[in-house]
Symmetry: C2
Subunit: 159 residues, 2 copies
């Protein structure tokens, strides 16, 4: 099944898409998802162009790949991203479960052009009470009912 393409070929495609995305008015980020030596899907940063703060390259590529594969998991896939993923994208990657991630630019490179996710990494490490973003707990006693519903549901699709 493996074609003759190398990891460098897929990363070059991601880099090419990241440069094209700047021309198209988006951020300088793109990602490509590969399975069995073939490109399954790609994605470019569309935060400002699609007005969606979650539309980072990796998230867009994961959504596109899952649609292409008709699956909510990326088992057996490799993800090539032109830049080291931010915490949101890393989380998305862990939930999607590809086998391996290749990246090119580092988060330090990204910080140098003012895409700085260090603040988010630091916030995630802080206890909720010490975060800059206020997070307040409310109605825990009522919300737990949804979890009991889930536990009691016999035909649920787990993930």
């Amino acid at each position: 099944m493996k074609k003759n393409k190398k990891p460098e070929d897929f990363m070059r495609l991601a880099i090419e898409l990241s440069r094209q995305n700047v021309v198209n008015g988006g951020g300088p980020f793109a990602a490509v998802i590969v399975k069995d030596g073939e490109v399954v899907a790609s994605g470019c940063n569309q935060v400002t162009t699609a007005k969606d703060p979650t539309a980072h390259a990796e998230v867009v590529a994961i959504r596109n790949a899952c649609a292409a594969l008709d699956d909510f998991q990326l088992h057996g896939c490799e993800l090539y991203t032109s830049c080291e993923p931010c915490p949101m994208c890393l989380g998305a990657i862990y939930w999607a479960r590809p086998e391996k991630v290749y990246y090119a630019n580092s988060k330090e490179d990204a910080a140098a052009i003012d895409f700085d996710d260090q603040f988010i990494y630091e916030e995630l490490d802080r206890p909720l009470s010490q975060r800059k973003l206020p997070m307040v707990r409310l109605l825990a006693n009522e919300a737990i009912a949804a979890f009991r519903d889930w536990q009691n549901k016999s035909d649920k699709v787990e993930y």
Copy 2:
């Protein structure tokens, strides 16, 4: 502009949606986004129903709210989520920049019904070389061109 609704009212709506989502075949999670005392948008977990591993309640709600507000930021908004956000959703929340987050179930409650994001928190804290998910750097010398393109672009939309 403020209506007479209290935080508890919005959280009750999120809880109601989370329970309805279980009935509809999705995970037991929902979120509501509020601005000036009015509900702007909501979102339910659609991972398995939409076959999208990024479709957690908070991400769906953020996308819907940004579409409703025609903006890629949620300035002045509050996010009500039926469960403490996972690292992906927290990242999305930081990028979307709402003012405040209310949550009901805790991540410990979620772990008790096998939605365990502790593994992701731990992975994010590890140096790349020590993560269970292999992350390999490739072609950094070529990818940096996209960042130079971005720096040199005079009409870019920053975010």
